[in-house]
């Protein structure tokens, strides 16, 4: 860790604190959580381009940032998939004035090439950077953004929304409704906040509320599966699940839904084949219980039935994927 860099940061910080005393408190957030706070370290995008954290990624931009690592087997793939949903709902503003950053916590493994595959697996659009860098630079960035866990498995799975111009930062749960996350991001824009909606009692957001979630397993599916899978609408991050209860044995499904990591480790042929087919992403272990799986299978059965797929048990096992 270079003394020069620390030294210049220190001078900057002291100057900032001194200025804050003079300026009064209207611009305190912008001054406190700005250039003097964020390190301007170099990071590398999934395209191999070197960018400076503050100058290129934060300054004057509205951002949504989370932490990932491509080797994550549990929650993070789902988090990234939900980020993708948020990106979709924000449309072309992402890449224009709103930017998404997924920063790896495993820079040794997650080279730009690895991250590029990972980004492609989630259909990440323009304006969403997957970032790696030198471990010590990543370390600074993650600490500053509040990712201060001692162990990789403890890392934060929420996201930080922020506005580099105003110093306005807000943590948000990616597990809440996607529309609400999008709202948090949009509200980082002072102009967007200033829009008045004429109709009484309506918000200035055009995001629709969630549909009523009534069927067994539907809430779980929407929450945990729908970010990566459709039922009858084609492959997304993972395979289309229409008819999956016919394609595969129930016991296999149950096992795979609960412990996909273990199945892969045990070289289960279907699990291995799925990893090969859906490159750059793996079905995470979501900590589903037997009950959860039962509910989900009922839901998958019903939805497939609705689409006219036979739900007779599959024989032989592992026939197709």
């Amino acid at each position: 860790m270079g003394k020069t860099r620390w030294g210049s940061v220190a001078v900057l910080v002291i100057v900032t604190w001194a200025l804050l005393g003079l300026l009064g408190d209207t611009m305190v957030s912008a001054a406190t959580w700005g250039e003097s706070y964020f390190p301007n370290v170099p990071l590398v995008t999934q395209e191999g381009e070197t960018v400076h954290f503050y100058d290129d990624l934060i300054k004057g931009k509205i951002v949504l940032i989370n932490f990932i690592y491509a080797g994550c087997k549990e929650v993070c793939p789902l988090v990234t998939a939900r980020m993708a949903q948020v990106q979709k709902s924000l449309g072309d503003r992402v890449g224009r004035d709103i930017f998404f950053y997924s920063i790896t916590l495993d820079p040794a493994h997650d080279t730009p090439e690895v991250l590029k595959k990972h980004a492609a697996a989630f259909h990440a659009g323009p304006g969403w950077l997957f970032l790696t860098g030198k471990p010590e630079d990543i370390e600074q960035v993650r600490y500053k953004l509040g990712e201060r866990s001692n162990r990789l498995a403890d890392h934060r799975n929420d996201a930080m929304a922020g506005n580099g111009a105003t110093g306005d930062w807000e943590r948000t749960s990616l597990f809440q409704d996607v529309a609400l996350v999008a709202k948090v991001v949009l509200e980082m824009d002072p102009q967007w906040r200033a829009q008045r909606v004429r109709r009484p009692g309506t918000t200035s957001t055009n995001v629709a509320p969630v549909r009523s979630v009534g069927q067994t397993g539907q809430a779980l599916f929407v929450k945990l599966c729908a970010s990566c899978h459709t039922i009858g609408k084609g492959d997304l991050v993972g395979p289309d699940l229409q008819g999956v209860t016919v394609r595969r044995e129930r016991a296999w499904l149950s096992q795979f839904m609960q412990r996909p990591d273990v199945m892969r480790a045990n070289q289960d042929p279907v699990a291995v084949a799925l990893s090969a087919k859906y490159e750059g992403v793996r079905m995470p272990n979501l900590g589903l219980s037997e009950t959860d799986v039962g509910d989900l299978l009922v839901y998958l059965d019903r939805q497939s039935q609705r689409l006219g797929v036979s739900t007779k048990p599959a024989t032989p096992p592992h026939a197709a994927h």
């Binding site: 003394k3 620390w6 220190a10 002291i14 001194a18 009064g24 408190d25 209207t26 611009m27 305190v28 957030s29 912008a30 959580w33 690592y69 080797g71 087997k73 929650v75 993070c76 916590l105 493994h109 600490y143 509040g146 990712e147 866990s149 162990r151 990789l152 498995a153 403890d154 799975n157 929420d158 306005d168 930062w169 943590r171 749960s173 597990f175 809440q176 609400l180 002072p190 008045r196 909606v197 004429r198 109709r199 009484p200 009692g201 309506t202 918000t203 509320p209 549909r211 009523s212 979630v213 009534g214 067994t216 809430a219 990591d261 892969r264 900590g287 037997e290 009950t291 959860d292 039962g294």
Partner: protein, 837 residues
Amino acid sequence: MEKEFPMSIYLPSNASKRRLREAQNARNNRAEIVKALSHGQITRRDLFKWGLFTTAGLLLNKNGLSPYAKSAFAGEPTGVPPTPIDGAFPLTQPLPRLHLETPLPLTKIVMPNGEWEARWPSGVLPNQPLNAKRLSWHTDFSNHPAGNTPANPYINPITHRGPIEGRPPGEWFGHQRWKEFFPQVGYLMSLGPCAPGTKFHPAWPDQQANRVWSFYEGGFGGASHLPPPLLKGRYGEPILMRIHNSCPVDRTANGGFGRNEMSTHFHNAHNGAESDGASNAYHFPGTFYDYHWGTTLARHDQINRSATDRRASGPDGRGGLIQVPGDFRELQGTMWFHDHRFFFTSENVYKGMAAMINYYSGPDRGNEVLTDGVNLRLPSGSLLDWGNLDFDVNLLIADMATDPSGQYFFDIFTTDGFIGDRLHVNFAWQPYMEVLPRKYRFRTINASMSRFLQLALADQNGRPVPFQFIANDGNFVVRPLLLTQLDQQGTAERYDIVVDFSRFKIGDKVTLVNLLQQTDGRKPDKALSLAQALARNSPDTAVGPVMEFRIVGAVESVDVPGYIHYASSQDLSQVPPTLTEQIPIVAPVRTRHVEFVRGGGDSTNTPTGTCIPECGGRESFPWSIKVNGESAHSLNANRISLLIPKPGEVEHWTYQNGGGGWDHPIHLHFEEGMTMNRGNEPIPATERLVRKDIWRLRPSGRVQFQVRFGEYGGAYVNHCHNTVHEDFAMLLRYQVLTDRNNPNDSDVHVEIIPTPIPSPDGVTFMTPEVLAEGNPAGNSVSIAQTNGGVVGTGGTGSTSGTTTTTGSSGSGTGGTTGTTTTSSSGSGSGRSGRRRR
């Protein structure tokens, strides 16, 4: 010097100017001390007590005192430079008592449509405030043809957009049991920037207006003050609390932290969910929110329904009692209220959005003389009929930090927990209080965001001073406990103690000491011995003296200013051997198990990865829940994780900390639980069979308690009260349904109500998800339906008429109970004809 700073995030190696200034300050401080010593203004004993003198009689080489001592930046737990003391001596400013608020009388107005409204007295504000009423003024705003334009008379008067009241419109957020607990008194308060001259110590700089947002009396445009308020409530006198949001309209004008959107939670008062302040109904600058604090005694609908038990009562102000239905064993005393804006709770509470409220009752009268067979006569005073504060003192203790210029500071990025390096009492750094040689009651609360405390009392020779423990989280223990130090005290835990200073002579001093060292937001490091703590033998500057009690011969009354109490007058107060009666543990209707997970077990899964692909340590969602042995996970304020299907049923809940190295104080809103056990771990006498609303789970620990719900319904939460963890979403929503057969109960909350989504232009609603696992097996519930998220276009609550019924899932075999859809009328104005009001 460089080696000092490797971990510092703000001030690394060569902050030479600052070091020079520190050194200069240290020289000055040292010279001042030597001068004061030589002039006899302070004694060596003082210095020793302040921890500034070694036993060898040398001034300690402390940062700020010795020009040669090393700066301690690197070790500051907050990750920021230490709060500058600016030459202030500890224990030199008098304790400010919390700012007592005077309630306003309300007048009942019967409206032509049969509704009751409460009118404020005239002349309180320049313009007569709108009446308080059952349905939010948002309803009127939404119904007005002018819409969201300045022509709408119910528009936000500051921003001229959106409703004037932030409470969501329509029946879902109508006050429950409004006529039954019709407010008799009210408070017109605001939350906003602080007044000039607001400071934590006379020698410290004035805080900039937006560094502190706290309370003040009145409407928009005033300035708030420290210390924050104290309210006195009494059973039988329902309260209407109107809180105006007077914060800057620009949310980035926040002094570096805090969000100008607020939601005031009255921590564990027995109120409807619409007044609980934690149902996502936060409100914006220029709006107010009417909270209905009905002073309902729990078990009102089950026990002592005819109000014949004199112990279930409040003081009538004339020496008598107002008897109320309910269980006197569930009377509450020491409570507080604070902001609960999801994701910003810690920033906002730290910023000053916190205050205390004492509930007074027949037994806990706040009068130490009046004898009627019910009053316990605990130390308090006797100049007033009830609620005497002369010898009954609220101590709101919390940690804090400032930036190097002395301005209040919070690290908005922390997720582990925020630890400040200084403790304040009632927002004054290390104060002293003059006391008479007699019994005093102290109502202590840990109002820190993440710091745990452990308090003890020491005499001037460093010996422990015994005291009696009388209440935990505002609930009496059955028999007072004699202690010399308290148990750990997590965020929001309240411990009431009685200290008898009569064994001391005038001129003596007693120190309140924090024994607990904490340098990490996850959990405390360790407790020091009293001697070690007094010597401040810790890198944590919040260890050691918190405040000092000076025994004097006379003090002026705060209850009747001008009146002088003398040491010679007799102390008639008592601490009776029995304070209440034990509620028995009974067989539960159901058990629930809530596991909070943050931080797993051991793992070798590191960024460099030695055991990829399959390792021990598992990532997980921040918490998971298990009900009756089934399991689930995930989080969301819009997700109902636990459903309380009907009032009155006894449940046994277990809270488990699944996350090894962390400790979490978990808070259950609305109802208290009686602490049954801590698994196989020992349980202190201060908790065993004691009613509480917040439990420290301890690392890898668990706690089981008995609880039941009643009188009110709606969406409540339980969560980690390390408010930084809570913002990290260690929070789950539970829904209490009311009894459709009880004529007093709300007939709105017999079904699940949608989640409000507030905006500056008004509130919309979102349909909540019901976790099947949170719903006891076989129970069918219905959700009131929203219509496209729009409310109030052309009628109060343009809700659709469908209701979805979800069944909980069955056993683990994948078999499920059926899902049916029934139709019933929605929750809008269509049913208002038969609303219970």
